[in-house]
């Protein structure tokens, strides 16, 4: 375990930078919404999902129902379902650490684990576990610092919540580059914009989501064959 610490830390440095910053912005947003630092700590400890926690801030601020929180969180994170498929056997070998490895499988940890190179003489399972724990602690640290320091910032933090928009734009670009066709992306944009214009900011998201699912299933014969390859 000790031997794995140095290579695990080196592998997680990019995530350290990213999580401190995005976690910090989450902490500031949560603080601006009226929540004390322990709430940031609790959210980051138990939820541990970047975009999910950003969304939670707006749901908290708008006093959304528990059902809305559940549906929105499931929809936002449904991509995670496909991450686990790559680690079904690996995590099974990790014994007691398995539940934690599943819990902590964020976008960033997933991408690190996919490309992890274990140095000779180091236990790969120990290294995987350390990568997961380190990433989680960076996230908690960033969000708590944001929640504490947010009020003491020597500058005006108006507009810092744009980090959430920027994060989604970055993920959008990544998916645009890796998709063979862009029908789903256009469909998502179109359905959401139309629903927003017709129904207004309070109620547009669920109808848009349902329309997207129905249309994607309807287009399966057209899009499905390319996807299957």
């Amino acid at each position: 375990m000790k031997k794995a610490l140095r290579p695990a830390f080196t592998a997680t440095i990019p995530v350290l930078c990213g999580y401190l910053f995005i976690g910090f912005a989450f902490g500031v947003m949560l603080r601006d919404a009226g929540y004390a630092p322990p709430w940031a700590f609790l959210s980051s400890l138990t939820i541990y999902a970047g975009s999910g926690q950003y969304l939670l801030v707006s749901l908290l601020a708008s006093g959304a129902s528990l059902a809305t929180v559940a549906v929105m969180t499931l929809l936002l994170n449904c991509r995670h379902i496909f991450y686990g498929l790559s680690f079904l056997e690996q995590f099974h070998q990790m014994g007691n650490a398995k539940p934690y490895m599943i819990f902590s499988l964020t976008d960033e940890t997933y991408s690190l684990l996919c490309s992890l190179k274990t140095p000779e003489g180091v236990d790969p399972n120990a290294m995987r576990l350390l990568v997961a724990i380190l990433d989680h602690s960076y996230w908690i640290l960033g969000s708590v610092i944001g929640a504490i320091a947010g009020g003491m910032l020597p500058f005006d933090s108006t507009g810092i919540d744009f980090a959430m928009t920027a994060l989604f734009v970055v993920i959008f670009v990544e998916q645009w580059k890796s998709s063979k066709h862009h029908v789903p992306a256009f469909l998502g944009l179109g359905a959401a914009a139309l629903s927003l214009v017709l129904l207004g900011p309070q109620n547009f998201i669920m109808p848009a989501m349902i329309a997207i699912c129905v249309l994607l299933v309807a287009l399966r014969s057209r899009l499905g064959e390319e996807v299957a390859q």
């Binding site: 969180t73 499931l74 994170n77 991509r79 599943i102 507009g159 744009f162 998916q175 959401a192 499905g224």
Partner: protein, 109 residues
Amino acid sequence: MSAGRTLAMIAVAAVCTFATRVAPFLLFNGKRPIPPIVRYLGTVLPPAVIALLVVYCLKNVTWLGYPHGIPEMISIVVVAVLHLWKRNNLLSIGVGTALYMILVQSVFI
């Protein structure tokens, strides 16, 4: 909002997030193949959902009145172009957010 209500919302978000992560381990033990419709939706749903989320972030922008969403549009284009160019999450998000903060605090006031 009461502390109990906040706690409940965080708990629901935590349980639902974990549910999405544990689902494949419960559904597929490696013996059963993944149903084609699940595999299909798994590929096409993420870009659509992320597009929806970008729109969600812009839901309170005043398009018809000043500043007509101009700070948002400028910043989004900068984030997208910077990311296509450098492919660095931290750089794209950091520069885009800083630019947006400058625009809404000092330019479009």
